[in-house]
Every structure is written in structure tokens, then in C-alpha cells.
């Protein structure tokens, strides 16, 4: 059996997915990226190999994606746009729009029935609307990041967060706290602020059903709620949403290998 590895080097987390010749997931791993991107890529691949219990020499192709892809030892580098599209449509074949909210950027991707990318938009100028924004705000509210989403769902009177800038947004949050606003209401306001920004991004590429969300922020139920409310539609979210980029990369490697392109 030959295996195919996809390594997605994100700004905060590096992910690896290994699939077999049938395209089924054999193993996966996630490590913190840190400052040493190459080391993170090697480490996550080794972890996925250990988890899968197979000989690494059985890996026929490794594809790297993500912002650090050029610094990973891989057979090929493919952008995360293409990889997220491939991974999303593999898990949800009806996917036509992918939303990836990552650690430091957000991507909206339209895909065709064949899984090919039709259009895409990235927000890469500012951290507002990304996982980093939520991290900063969680710290300002003195709650764990994992609690922020569930907390937001307890809101009864969401506070408006009007600043687009993460730094000014943090100041706004601190003001709300000082004024005695409920933390749940501030948390909901934050999620709604992100959802409005992200909705604009999605509308630029054109929203076509089905929508699939990928990236670590997908697991934030508060974010899902705010986005579905803003867009008036639901999202497909896989339990391994954070691995979709790496999955797509592994499948691209598999496709190329089996087509004799490797």
C-alpha cells in the first residue's frame, strides 16, 4: 500500500493528514508551528506516521501547503486555496463555497462541480476576522479561547463592536468591560463583528450552496451561529475541519501519483 501525506503549515498550527490509495484517511496530527517552520513540518509528519503505524518509506508523495509551504521538504507545494477546495469537496461533495477562517487570514473560495477553484478572495491585510482576533479578545475578557464561543451563545443583549482593527477592537472590549457589560454579550458582539466582515468577503466571491467551513475557527460554535445568522444559511462543518487543507494536499499528492505525474 502506498500512502500520501499532506502537510498544511499555518501561522499557528501545522497539520498533517495521510491518506491511502483509496483516499481514505489513515492518520493525522497537529503541532504548534512556532518559529521554526521546517521543524514543525517534519515533526507533524513524523507524528502522523507514528499514529498510522506504517513505514514512512511507503509515502509515495508529500504535498505541502499553507503559508510555510516553501520551507517544508515536500515533493510539491500547492496553495491552501486549492487544497482547501479539494479537501472540502472530498468530505462534502455538494460543496460549492468554502470559508476558511485561519489563525491570521480568512479565505472565501468558490468551487465548481469538479472541485476546481472558480474564484477566491483572501483577507490578508488585517487580523480582524481571524483566529488571532478571537485570541486577543479572549485574553482581554479573561476567558479561555475555547470558552468564547459557547459563552457568546448565552448572550441576551449583544454589544456592538464597531472597530475593524484588532488593536482598537481590544480597546473597545475593555471599555465595555469597564462599563459593566456582560461578558457573554461582549463575546456575542465580537462574533457578530467577525461574521459581518466575513459575510462581505463571501459575497465578493458569490455564495453558492452548499457552504463548508474549514480551519480551526470552525469549531467555535459561537462563530458558526453568528455566521449562519448573518448569511441566512447553514454550513457543513466536519469534526476534522482544521485538517481540511492538509487532507486536500494529501489527495492532490495521491491524484498526481496515481496519474503518473510524480
Amino acid at each position: 500500500m502506498t500512502y500520501f501525506a499532506g502537510v498544511d503549515i499555518g501561522s499557528l498550527a501545522t497539520k498533517c493528514v495521510v491518506v491511502d490509495e483509496a483516499g481514505d484517511i489513515v492518520s493525522s496530527a497537529i503541532v504548534a508551528t512556532g518559529a521554526r517552520v521546517s521543524a514543525a513540518a517534519e515533526s507533524v509528519l513524523a507524528a502522523a506516521v507514528r499514529a498510522g503505524g506504517f513505514d514512512p518509506a511507503r509515502i509515495g508523495c508529500t504535498v505541502a501547503t499553507g503559508y510555510g509551504r516553501k520551507r517544508a521538504h515536500a515533493d510539491r507545494q500547492v496553495t491552501e486555496i486549492t487544497c482547501h477546495a479539494r479537501g472540502a469537496i472530498h468530505l462534502f461533495p455538494g460543496t460549492r463555497t468554502v470559508l476558511d477562517i485561519g489563525g491570521q487570514d480568512t479565505k472565501a473560495i468558490r468551487i465548481g462541480a469538479d472541485g476546481g477553484v472558480v474564484n477566491f478572495v483572501m483577507n490578508d491585510k488585517c487580523a480582524a476576522g481571524t483566529g488571532r482576533f478571537l485570541e486577543v479578545m479572549a485574553r482581554a475578557l479573561e476567558v479561555d479561547l475555547e470558552e468564547l464561543g459557547p459563552l457568546s451563545l448565552q448572550s441576551t443583549a449583544p454589544q456592538t463592536i464597531s472597530s475593524f482593527c484588532t488593536v482598537f477592537g481590544e480597546s473597545e472590549v475593555i471599555s465595555h468591560v469597564a462599563n459593566g457589560a456582560e461578558v457573554a454579550d461582549i463575546a456575542r458582539g465580537l462574533h457578530e463583528a467577525i461574521s459581518h466582515r466575513v459575510a462581505g468577503l463571501l459575497k465578493r466571491v458569490g455564495v453558492e450552496s452548499q457552504l463548508t467551513m474549514s480551519g480551526g475557527v470552525s469549531h467555535n460554535i459561537g462563530m458558526r451561529s453568528a455566521l449562519e445568522q448573518a448569511l441566512g444559511t447553514s454550513f457543513n462543518i466536519h469534526p476534522h475541519a482544521q485538517l481540511i487543507g492538509a487532507l486536500g494536499a494529501s489527495l492532490i499528492g495521491r491524484d498526481r501519483f496515481l496519474n503518473g505525474q510524480q
Partner: protein, 381 residues
């Protein structure tokens, strides 16, 4: 044979790395020679040659604009701030005059600021080009304006206005444009040798600084060699690039195209200076220049209902085998941003994929741009 390309590139790099050093050297070896700076996208260089001058394109650069920010707000295109910074800090003091075409509100603004604050250093004049090129009055109006500019420069430099000298200037400007147009065609053709986008931008930019009698022979010599060993052209996906008529991205930014797997087969780098048709060779020389201008390539800064920009773009893409378009647009450039949506709609109708990327003169964060260009290449390959 490698020498022709290498010699051309080395000469152009030297000039573009320090344009004012070239200007100083040229003035030293040219008695009474006058250096006339010009703001993008086009001025009638024929007139500059006619007064024995050297046209010097002011294409901005990556410079911190602390002084210029006192005159010009942040939310304008970077070139108006960078060129103003160069002027304020004295880099442009070797110029004898500067001409501004009113291509947009920002250009008019900066021309006015220079008129008010820098007129002591050099003559500052607006060349009031018509924005509307398809009116019967456009060419006669421009001809009259050209007479005025010629008279103003001649008076400033203590010269008589000479129509013979202007005909000679027309011949020089046409010669330069032809050489640059031939270079553009050569670049677009797939063959065993070619050039990359960074080198091409350097070579074209040098043509707006070097004297035509020095620059054109170097370029013609390189183009004349059938087997010369210029760098291998990129094997990337062929795309057109538009939006660059006025400003130039940093070299590091331009290099992203080839590294992303794209090959630029058509662009509007310095289009304003290289796209005019050859002027007539008889009759009134001012009318000849004006007619050539009003019939020149469509650009964002000009309106000509008879020459649609999208038709020219689609035509060029088809002729040169392009598979997509990159709209590379300067931030805050109103004329280009007005056009880009219409152009994108037209390219979409023609089933040509496109992507829009904005930029400023500094390199900025190139990683995200690289990702977008690579993703675009993956999409259209």
C-alpha cells in the same frame, strides 16, 4: 552574444538605480543641456527634445515620506508622496523643469503643490492634456497647448522656438517608441530566450530616463541578434498584466509573477510613454503630435469612445495567447479602480479568468500576494 542583453541590462540597471547620477553626467557632457522631469503617464517628449533637453521620467520609489506627508494626505497613491519626498529632500535639484499631466485629481494636486512650493528650484508646468480624446476639438485644443508648453520651455531656457527642432524631436520620440514597442512584441513571443518581468520593467524604465540616442542603439542591438542568449523565459501560465500605467511595484513584488508560475505576455508598463502612434511627418508639427496622442492606446486616464480599453486588452490577450489577466492596481488610484470592475466584467464575458491585486511602491508583505498569484496560476493552468 550574451553580451548584448547583459550590456543593455547593466546600462539600464545603472540608470534606474540612480537616475539623477545619469542626469548629472548627461548635463556635464551636454553643454546647455536641460533636464526636464515629467510625472506619469505621458508628456510630449518631442518638445523636450526640441529644446535640447533630456526627458526624465519620475516614477517614484520606495522612500519614507515623512516630509511629503506634511503636504499630502496618506490616502493617496504612493507615487505622489514618494516623488514629492524626492523633490523636497533635494534629490531632483538637477532638474531644470518638471511637467505634470493632469491625469487624475492626485496628479493635479501634486502639480499644484510643486508649483506653490518648489517653483524656486525649477520651472513647474502643467501640460493640460485633454481627457476626452474623441471630441473634434481634442486635437486642436492639444495642439494649442503644445505650442504654449514649447514656448514656455524655450523661454525658460533662453531659446527660440524652432519648428525644425520640433520635427527632429518628433523623430527622436517616435524612434524610442518603436524600439520599446518592438521590445514588447519580442517579450511576448515564446522562444528559447526572453526576459523576465523585473528586467523588462528596468529596461523600459531606463528608456524614460536615458537620452534616446544612447538608449535606442543598445535596445536595437539586443533585438537584432537572432540567437542571443538572453535569459530563458518563464514556462509559466501566460497572463496579461494591466493597471501599471502610472506606478511601478517594487522589484521584489514584480518577481513574484514568475516565481508563482505565471508568465507575463502583455502589460501596460509605461504604456503612456510607449503607446502613441508615430506622428505625421509633414504639416503642422503640433497637430502631428496632437493627432498621434488622441489616437493612442486606451488608458484609464483617457476617454475615447472609439477605442475601448477592454477591446484592446482582449485583442492583445488573444493575439499573444494569454490565459488570464492580473489587474495589478495601485492603492488609491481612482482612474484604474474605476476601470478595473468594467474590465473584469468584460474579461469574464470573454471567459478569461482574472484576479485583482493592489499594491504600493514598497515591497510590503509579499507572502500573501505570492499565495494569491500561485492560486490563480493553479486555477487557470
Amino acid at each position: 552574444m550574451r553580451n548584448q542583453y547583459g550590456r543593455l541590462l547593466a546600462a539600464c540597471q545603472k540608470v534606474t538605480n540612480d537616475p539623477m547620477a545619469y542626469v548629472t553626467a548627461w548635463k556635464t557632457r551636454t553643454p546647455n543641456g536641460k533636464a526636464v522631469g515629467f510625472f506619469p503617464t505621458y508628456v510630449p517628449t518631442e518638445i523636450v527634445y526640441a529644446v535640447g533637453g533630456l526627458p526624465v521620467g519620475l516614477w517614484g520609489g520606495s522612500i519614507s515620506t515623512g516630509s511629503a506627508n506634511a503636504y499630502i494626505q496618506q490616502f493617496t497613491c504612493s507615487i505622489v508622496r514618494s516623488t514629492t519626498e524626492y523633490a523636497l529632500e533635494g534629490t531632483l535639484d538637477r532638474l531644470d523643469a518638471v511637467l505634470f499631466p493632469p491625469i487624475c485629481d492626485s496628479a493635479k494636486l501634486v502639480g499644484s503643490i510643486w508649483s506653490l512650493n518648489l517653483a524656486g528650484k525649477f520651472l513647474v508646468d502643467m501640460v493640460n492634456l485633454p481627457e476626452r480624446l474623441d471630441s473634434k476639438g481634442s486635437a486642436p485644443y492639444l495642439a494649442a497647448e503644445l505650442r504654449r508648453v514649447h514656448a514656455a520651455l524655450a523661454a525658460r531656457f533662453g531659446l527660440a522656438v524652432s519648428e525644425d527642432a520640433l520635427w527632429s524631436g518628433i523623430a527622436s520620440a517616435d524612434r524610442l517608441r518603436k524600439a520599446q514597442q518592438d521590445f514588447s512584441v519580442w517579450r511576448s513571443q515564446a522562444r528559447s530566450c526572453g526576459t523576465n518581468l523585473v528586467d523588462a520593467a528596468t529596461i523600459l524604465r531606463a528608456g524614460t530616463i536615458m537620452h534616446v540616442d544612447e538608449y535606442v542603439p543598445l535596445l536595437e542591438e539586443m533585438l537584432a541578434q537572432p540567437d542571443h542568449e538572453a535569459p530563458k523565459p518563464s514556462q509559466g501560465v501566460p497572463v496579461a498584466l494591466t493597471g501599471l500605467a502610472c506606478q511601478l511595484p517594487h522589484a521584489e513584488f514584480l518577481a513574484l509573477f514568475e516565481s508563482a508560475g505565471l508568465r507575463v505576455i502583455e502589460d501596460d508598463l509605461f504604456l503612456g510613454m510607449r503607446a502613441a502612434l508615430p506622428a505625421a511627418t509633414a504639416g503642422d508639427p503640433y497637430c502631428a503630435i496632437a493627432e498621434a496622442f488622441v489616437n493612442s492606446a486606451a488608458m484609464a486616464m483617457r476617454h475615447n469612445s472609439g477605442v475601448q480599453r477592454h477591446e484592446q486588452l482582449l485583442d492583445r490577450i488573444k493575439q499573444r495567447g494569454g490565459k488570464g489577466v492580473v489587474f495589478l492596481v495601485p492603492k488609491f488610484c481612482e482612474p484604474e479602480w474605476f476601470d478595473v470592475r468594467y474590465l473584469q466584467a468584460e474579461t469574464k464575458k470573454a471567459s478569461i479568468p482574472s484576479i485583482i491585486i493592489d499594491f504600493e511602491e514598497g515591497a510590503g508583505m509579499t507572502g500573501p500576494v505570492q499565495t494569491r498569484l500561485e492560486a490563480f496560476a493553479e486555477t487557470i493552468a
